[in-house]
C-alpha cells in the first residue's frame, strides 16, 4: 500500500512555498457562528446550517466529519448502519449533553465511609442484588460497543450518546461491585436465566433487535429495580447509589423509546419485526420474575429483614411488577408499538396491571 507521499510538496514547504488550496477552495460552509446557550456551547447550538443537516442515508462510509469537504479517494470504512432511522432519536443531542453534564464518580460521590454494619440477611440481600446488577449492567456497555464501529459517522451524535452509555454502564458495574465488597458481604450468585437474556442482547442480529431488547425492555426493568432500590435502601449510601444509577438508566431508556419512535415513524412496516423481538425477550424476562436470586433479595430489603419478607416482600414485589410492566407498556405506546394484549408474559404476572390487556368493548 502506498500513501502517495508528495516529495515535491515536502521540498516546496521546506522552502516556505505553501499550497494554501485548503484555505480558499473548500466546499464546506464558511461563515457560520454558533452561539453558546446559557449552559455552554451545546450540540444543539452547533446544529446549524448544513452542519446540522443529518442525512436520511449517509452518502459515504467515512470518518470524515459531517459537513466537511471530503477529498475524493477516502477509504470505505465498511459501516453497515448507514440509514439515519436505524440509530437516530430526536432527543439524542439533548441526552448527550445531559449525560456529559450529569456524570458522577463511584469512588468520590458515594459516601462509602458512612456504610454501617447491617443485619446479615439484609447485607446478604443487598450483595445478591448488587451481584445481579453488576452482572447485567455491563451488557449495556458491550452491546453499544459492539455496534458503535458499524454506525456511519454521519450519525455522530448518536454514536457519542452511545459512548456516554458505555461509560455509564462501566460505572454501574463498578459501583455495584464496590457495594458488594464494601460491607463484609461479597458477591453472590450469577444465574443462568439472567445470562441467557444478556446473551440474547449481545447476539442480536441487528441493532434494531438489540436496542429493543436492551434499551426498551431490559433497561426499563433495571430502571424500575433502581427505583425500588432507592426506595428500599437500608442506608443513605445505597439510596445515593440507586438514585444516581436510576438517573443514568432513565436516559438510556429515553433514548431507546425515542429511537423506536423514530424508527417506526420512518418505516411502519418494521413494527412486526419489533413485536417479534419483544415476544422473545419477554419470554425470558418472565423467567427472571421467577428467579429467587432476584425476587427474594428485593423482598428482604422491602421487609428490612427475613422475618416479614414473605408478607411485606410480596406486596413490594407486586408494586415492582406493576411498575415494570406499566412503564414498559407506556414506553411502547409512546414509541408507537402497542403491546397491550400481546405481552408474552404469563397471566400471573400481568394480572392487575392497568392497561396490560386490551379491554373488551362493553
Amino acid at each position: 500500500m502506498t500513501l502517495g507521499l508528495d516529495l515535491d510538496y515536502l521540498e516546496r514547504s521546506a522552502r516556505g512555498e505553501f499550497d494554501l488550496g485548503w484555505l480558499r477552495d473548500t466546499g464546506s460552509e464558511w461563515g457560520v457562528r454558533a452561539v453558546p446557550s446559557k449552559t455552554g456551547l451545546t450540540l444543539r447550538d452547533i446544529a446549524i446550517g448544513s452542519y446540522g443537516e443529518v442525512p436520511d442515508h449517509a452518502p459515504l462510509r467515512t470518518m470524515a466529519p459531517r459537513g466537511s469537504d471530503v477529498e475524493p479517494g477516502v477509504p470505505d470504512m465498511g459501516y453497515t448502519i448507514n440509514d439515519r432511522a436505524e440509530v437516530w432519536a430526536d432527543n439524542v443531542l439533548d441526552l448527550y449533553e445531559e449525560a456529559v453534564s450529569r456524570q458522577w464518580s463511584a469512588t468520590r460521590d458515594i459516601p462509602w465511609a458512612d456504610l454501617a454494619p447491617l443485619d446479615p440477611d439484609v447485607e446478604h440481600a443487598m450483595c445478591q442484588l448488587a451481584t445481579v446488577l453488576s452482572e447485567v449492567e455491563m451488557v449495556a456497555a458491550d452491546f453499544p460497543a459492539k455496534w458503535l464501529w458499524r454506525i456511519n459517522h454521519d450519525f455522530v451524535e448518536a454514536k457519542m450518546f452511545l459512548c456516554t452509555q458505555v461509560m455509564d454502564e462501566a460505572r454501574h458495574t463498578e459501583v455495584f461491585r464496590k457495594r458488594a465488597l464494601a460491607n463484609g458481604g461479597g458477591l453472590g450468585k450469577a444465574t443462568a436465566v439472567v445470562e441467557r437474556f444478556l446473551q440474547l442482547i449481545l447476539d442480536a442480529e441487528s441493532y434494531d433487535e438489540g436496542s429493543a431488547l436492551m434499551h426498551l425492555l431490559g433497561e426499563g426493568i433495571v430502571l424500575s429495580l433502581f427505583r425500588a432500590g432507592a426506595a428500599l435502601a437500608p442506608s443513605p449510601v445505597e439510596q445515593k447509589i440507586f438514585r444516581l444509577c436510576m438517573q443514568d438508566e432513565a436516559r438510556h431508556v429515553a433514548y431507546g423509546t425515542m429511537h423506536l419512535r423514530y424508527r417506526l415513524a420512518s418505516d411502519p412496516s418494521v413494527a412486526e419485526d419489533f413485536h417479534a423481538y419483544l415476544d422473545q425477550g419477554e419470554e425470558i424476562i418472565s423467567m427472571i420474575f421467577a428467579t429467587p436470586e432476584i425476587v427474594e433479595p428485593t423482598a428482604i430489603l422491602a421487609a428490612g429483614g427475613l422475618e416479614q419478607a414473605c408478607e411485606l416482600g410480596t406486596a413490594a414485589g407486586d408494586v415492582l411488577r406493576h411498575q415494570i410492566i406499566g412503564d414498559y407498556l407506556k414506553r411502547c405506546a409512546h414509541a408507537g408499538l402497542d403491546r397491550r394484549g400481546r405481552l408474552h408474559l404469563p397471566d400471573a404476572l400481568i394480572d392487575g396491571v392497568p392497561g396490560a390487556r386490551v379491554e373488551a368493548a362493553v
Binding site: 446557550s37 446559557k38 449552559t39 439533548d94 449533553e97 445531559e98 453534564s101 450529569r102 456524570q103 430502571l223 427505583r227 425500588a228 432507592a230 426506595a231 428500599l232 435502601a233 443513605p236 439510596q239 438514585r243 444516581l244 436510576m246 438517573q247 438508566e249 432513565a250 436516559r251 431508556v253 429515553a254 423509546t257 425515542m258 408494586v319 411498575q323 412503564d327 407506556k330 414506553r331 405506546a333 409512546h334
Partner: protein, 151 residues
C-alpha cells in the same frame, strides 16, 4: 437550620425553597444540567387543591404559581394530600436530606401517599432522569437560609 417561615404550600414558601437550593451554584452544577417541568399538587382538606410548578432549566430553577396543572404543562405532577406533603417537609426540616422513606421517590413508588402522574412515558422518565436534582431542591427545606449561610 431554620425552617422556612412561610406556610406550605405558598408561593413564598417555594421561592424561599429555591433560594436555599440555589444558594451554592457549585452544588447545582455538580448535579448537572436539568430539564424538567415539575408540578406539585397539594390536595387540601375539604376538596380544594393548590398547584405550584418548579421549572428546572439548565442550572436555573424557577417557581411558577400558584397556578393550575392545565396552564403549567408539567412533564410530571406529584400529587397528594397536604398531610403527606407536610410530613415530608417537616421531616426534612428536622433531619436534613430526605431518607428513602421521605424522598419523592419513596413516597411515590407505590402511589401512596403521593402519586406521580405524567401524560406519557417521557414525562415519567424525566422524573427519574432528574430525581437527584428535584430531591435536592426539596432537601433544601432543611438547609440554612441563604442569609444565615453567608453569616
Amino acid at each position: 437550620m431554620g425552617a422556612i417561615e412561610a406556610p406550605f404550600p405558598s408561593s413564598a414558601w417555594f421561592v424561599e425553597l429555591v433560594a436555599r437550593a440555589t444558594a451554592d451554584p457549585a452544588e447545582l452544577e455538580h448535579l448537572g444540567i436539568a430539564d424538567l417541568r415539575f408540578g406539585v399538587e397539594v390536595l387540601l382538606p375539604g376538596g380544594a387543591e393548590e398547584f405550584f410548578g418548579l421549572v428546572l432549566d439548565g442550572f436555573d430553577i424557577n417557581v411558577v404559581g400558584p397556578t393550575t396543572a392545565e396552564s403549567f404543562g408539567s412533564d410530571v405532577v406529584v400529587s397528594g394530600p397536604l398531610a403527606a406533603w407536610q410530613d415530608m417537609v417537616d421531616w426534612i426540616e428536622e433531619h436534613g436530606p430526605a431518607d428513602s422513606a421521605h424522598s419523592l421517590n419513596g413516597l411515590t413508588i407505590a402511589g401512596i401517599p403521593l402519586v406521580a402522574r405524567s401524560d406519557d412515558a417521557m414525562g415519567s422518565d424525566k422524573f427519574y432522569r432528574f430525581m437527584g436534582t428535584i430531591q435536592a431542591v426539596f432537601d433544601a427545606a432543611g438547609a440554612p437560609a441563604p442569609a444565615a449561610a453567608r453569616a
